[in-house]
């Protein structure tokens, strides 16, 4: 197993390198570039622009810019933002905790609710409960998330004033309760779609397993229903769902641009969006590269999880 993981990690290195090269090229195909922020200002004269270009290192040929970036990646500092002048690692570090709190909470909440609803509606197939969950899932999945978020904001924060409208904390507050109050709306916005889709996956996977012979055997042995479902069926039904869950993991790092914007949540999604807006190449590259690496890692994690869940799966 250890050798397998090591091999997977090693083979993914050239893959990641290729990904960074591709990202770098695509990024430079975006119209505008970092200097676009200045070009609309008549008082920025061509000679001023040349100096800015030189200081930002944009007058170097593209392949040199890539090599410089690669060198900074290998030394682990990821370079400095073209606009804020800060180290990119420092910028990510200051936005990451907020994103982890928001995405992590929403991940756990939607996983718990989604899996529970999925299992229950499979067990109670074609009952009122199942139809209810199915209807909810279709509505949740087809809701325009942006609209839904704004509606949550306007209803619960503006109209009813039950919950705060944005940010991580009220000014001057640091308490956990305050944090939870601020989390409710954005987590609801984020969870609605994932609960809807995960409950569907879980339901169909569970339905497949329930009809398997080993489940019938378990029942025949006289096990109570809770054990049959909980231990024998559920565990096996999880295997395909794990893939989907694992692929959602990198998203925890990437944040959610829309949710973070609507709820003024200072997270990685907004950092990425702002950086994209001004073509802050080092920040964009750092976030994308970390995301790509996390996709690779999550895939490996998924493979490991298969083996843990299903003894028939072995890696040599």
């Amino acid at each position: 197993m250890g050798a397998y993981i090591l091999r997977r990690l090693l083979t993914s290195l050239p893959l990641l390198l290729g990904v960074t090269l591709l990202l770098f090229c695509i990024m430079h195909l975006m119209p505008g570039g970092p200097l676009a922020a200045y070009t609309q200002n008549p008082r920025v004269r061509p000679e001023d622009l040349e100096k800015i270009k030189h200081i930002m290192g944009l007058d170097q040929p593209l392949y040199m810019q890539y090599l410089y970036w690669l060198r900074s990646l290998l030394t682990g500092n990821l370079g400095n933002s073209l606009f804020t002048g800060q180290a990119v690692t420092e910028m990510i570090a200051s936005f990451l905790p907020n994103t982890l709190v928001l995405m992590g909470t929403s991940f756990i909440v939607s996983l718990a609710i989604g899996v529970f609803l999925g299992v229950m509606s499979a067990v109670k197939q074609y009952t009122a409960f199942d139809f209810g969950v199915t209807t909810f899932a279709f509505i949740g999945y087809s809701l325009p998330v942006f609209w839904f978020g704004v509606m949550l904001l306007l209803l619960f924060a503006a109209q009813l004033k039950w919950l705060p409208s944005g940010g991580v904390h009220d000014l001057g507050e640091t308490g956990l309760l305050d944090l939870i109050e601020h989390l409710v709306l954005p987590v609801t916005m984020l969870s609605i779609v994932s609960v809807a889709s995960w409950s569907r996956y879980m339901r169909s996977s569970m339905l497949e397993v329930i009809r398997q012979e080993y489940v019938r055997t378990a029942r025949a042995k006289g096990l109570d229903e809770f054990r049959v479902i909980g231990r024998h069926a559920f565990r096996n039904a999880l295997v395909p769902v794990v893939t989907i869950i694992a692929l959602a993991l990198p998203g925890i790092f990437g944040g959610a641009i829309m949710t973070e914007t609507i709820f003024a949540w200072p997270g990685i999604g907004r950092l990425f969006f702002d950086s994209l807006g001004r073509s802050d190449y080092p920040v964009i590259m750092a976030i994308l590269t970390i995301s790509a690496a996390l996709v690779v890692v999550s895939n490996i994690l998924a493979d490991i999880a298969y083996a843990a869940l299903d003894p028939r799966i072995r890696y040599d």
Binding site: M30, P31, G32, G33, L35, A36, A37, Y38, T39, Q40, N41, P42, R43, V44, R45, P46, E47, D48, L49, K51, I52, H54, I55, N80, S81, F83, T84, G85, Q86, M91, S94, F95, N98, F146, V150, L153, L154, A157, A158, K161, P164, S165, G166, G167, V168, D170, L171, G172, T261, I262, F263, A264, W265, P266, G267, R270, L271, D274, G277, R278
Partner: protein
């Protein structure tokens, strides 16, 4: 997303008027640490004012920022020599008086000139005095090629700066430079930044660009920097030793709220006191909101239509004037901008009363019949399809604007019908902002457009050489219309060399009349800024110039009993 009248991209236009500056509204003298710890503790928020901003500044160093958000964020902390008030008048900030020819602050010496500033007694927030040497240092910052300065315009016209004593600054210009009052918008502390300026992180890149000071500046303004929580807010606390008067509030919080619905909600909940540049789409809702005052302020930005004179069809002034006369500004304003944006007729702001020429309004009035006559005279004959043609070629022009901005897209639709009425076939080809404005491949810069619809920002200083002088055709400058008129060339050059205000006004009024006749550009509508303020706040006076709304933040107060 809902329609925004002030997109982030456009806000970045204004950007560093920083360079021509006028940043700080608040000069300072500080020293003692104020006793207040800010209103941030629990319920002790009584004397805190929370001001909204849609964007987060990328730095708090005005010299290297490209964003308008930065101007607002540094105004409370920094001092300018001269700033601008809400009536668009220059007022003394760190300087004791505004130097002019009349008060002998400005002396013309042959080809050059000398400007003398007397500084008030002020101190940096760390207690050290602000001296003439700091002003000199500020010039050195802009002179240093390793500084990522947004613009060095004006600073590169300075030959030397003398500092005969700590309170006197004598600036020697190489040539006569009429916009001199726009310089020195934010004074930097030599004792804190000189080492960073001299250090280079890599050859040609000064550590000044990455300095820790840029994210926690020590200035000399009415408020001291307290903390910056990235993506969330920046907090300032009162500088009790501020010489223009101790601020009447304890804390200003600059809160970053990217979404307008959220800003609306927070205003309603009282979580923010000032909602800056509210979305026009929220205007009706905001009028219903109780407890707030809406300030409708004309902006210095204006929508306009560029004509590309390199296009042979548009090289004919009759065609350009006909287009200008065929378009009804009032109707566009009423139908698309809720009547908030007002008709524009000049590249100078009507607010800039010294320089604005009202006579242009008659010259470019809406007159579709006149437009038809001009097109007839120009030899464009109406064909069977209703469109005009000359020599077998239809009178067909393209219009380019930034895609995704609803009000502009609607404006183009309306224009299409106005122009159809006079026999011109308008084709709409919108592109993303960078494709329109970029260099070197942007449509405007490379001249691959017929008509361009976008916004420009005028300034308190009337200098417009970069728009109209024929030496400023790309790639040298931003004369995107490729306009060329020898008289305008002379006038735009003379304007920058005329310090006497009355004489200077004559020059710019003449330019406006010539532009109205030649019509290289059609001014459409002056933007209106909506600033919505909780009624408990007193002293908020929106300022359309690059001094920004926080120019008088030391005078803001909170009504008793609220």
């Amino acid at each position: 997303m809902t329609v925004r009248s002030t997109s982030p991209a456009m806000r970045r236009v204004l950007p560093s008027l920083l360079s021509l500056g006028l940043l700080a509204g608040c000069a300072g003298k500080g020293g003692d640490q104020p006793a207040k710890t800010g209103g941030a503790e629990g319920g002790a928020m009584a004397r805190t004012i929370v001001i909204h901003n849609q964007q987060e500044p990328e730095t708090l160093n005005g010299a290297i920022s490209s964003m308008m958000a930065t101007v607002d964020a540094i105004t409370p902390i920094m001092s300018a020599l001269i700033t601008v008030n809400d009536k668009m008048e220059y007022i003394a900030d760190l300087a004791e008086t505004v130097p002019t020819l009349e008060n002998k602050g400005v002396k013309l010496e042959g080809k050059g000139m000398t400007v003398t500033y007397k500084l008030r007694k002020a101190a940096w927030h760390d207690g050290k005095p602000v001296t003439s040497d700091d002003v000199k240092f500020t010039w050195q910052v802009y002179q240093d090629p390793a500084v990522k300065a947004t613009s060095r315009d004006g600073y590169d016209k300075i030959k030397a700066i003398d500092t005969p004593d700590a309170q006197t600054v004598v600036v020697h210009f190489k040539e006569i430079y009429a916009p001199y009052l726009g310089l020195f918008g934010g004074i930097f502390p030599r004792h804190l930044l000189e080492a960073d300026l001299k250090k280079q992180d890599k050859p040609g890149d000064s550590h000044f660009n990455q300095s820790a000071w840029n994210r926690a500046p020590v200035g000399s303004g009415a408020f001291k920097f307290k903390e910056w929580v990235p993506g969330d807010h920046i907090t300032y606390e009162a500088n009790t030793a501020y010489y223009r008067g101790k601020p009447k509030i304890d804390t200003i919080v600059f809160k970053i709220i990217p979404d307008e619905n959220n800003a609306y909600t927070q205003l309603q909940a009282g979580a923010i006191d000032i909602y800056q540049s509210a979305a026009l789409t929220q205007y009706d809702q905001l009028k219903q909101m109780s407890g707030v005052v809406i300030h409708e302020t004309p902006s210095l930005s204006y929508e306009h239509l560029d004509f590309n004179l390199a296009n042979p069809v548009l090289a004919d002034v009759k065609v350009r004037r006909a287009i200008s006369m065929a378009i009804n500004r009032e109707e566009i304003s009423a139908k698309i901008y809720k009547g908030l944006y007002k008709a524009a007729f000049s590249d100078q702001s009507p607010l800039n009363t010294i320089y604005y020429e009202p006579a242009v309004e008659k010259l470019s009035a809406f007159d579709p019949e006149g437009a038809k006559k001009l097109l007839d005279e120009a030899g464009w004959v109406v064909g069977e399809d209703g469109f005009r043609a000359k020599g077998g070629k239809q009178l067909k022009l393209g219009i380019a604007s930034t895609s995704g901005r609803k009000p502009r897209e609607l404006t183009e639709q309306v224009m299409k019908s106005y122009l159809k009425a006079v026999g011109i076939n308008l084709e709409i080809n919108n592109v993303p902002g960078p494709k329109l404005f970029g260099r070197p491949d942007g449509l405007l810069y490379s001249g691959q457009y017929d008509l361009g619809l976008y916004a420009w920002v005028s300034n308190i200083d009337p200098n417009n050489i970069f728009l109209w002088n024929s030496k400023q055709h790309p790639p040298a400058g931003q004369n995107y219309t490729r306009y060329s008129n020898p008289e305008v060339d002379k006038l735009t050059e003379a304007g920058n060399k005329t310090v006497n205000t009355a004489e200077r006004a004559k020059i710019y009024k003449r330019i406006q009349l010539l532009l109205a006749q030649d019509a290289p550009m059609m001014p459409l509508l002056v933007w209106t800024t909506l600033n919505v303020v909780n009624q408990r706040i007193e002293g908020f006076k929106p300022n359309p110039t690059s001094a920004g709304n926080l120019w008088n933040c030391h005078e803001w107060s909170i009504k008793q009993g609220s």
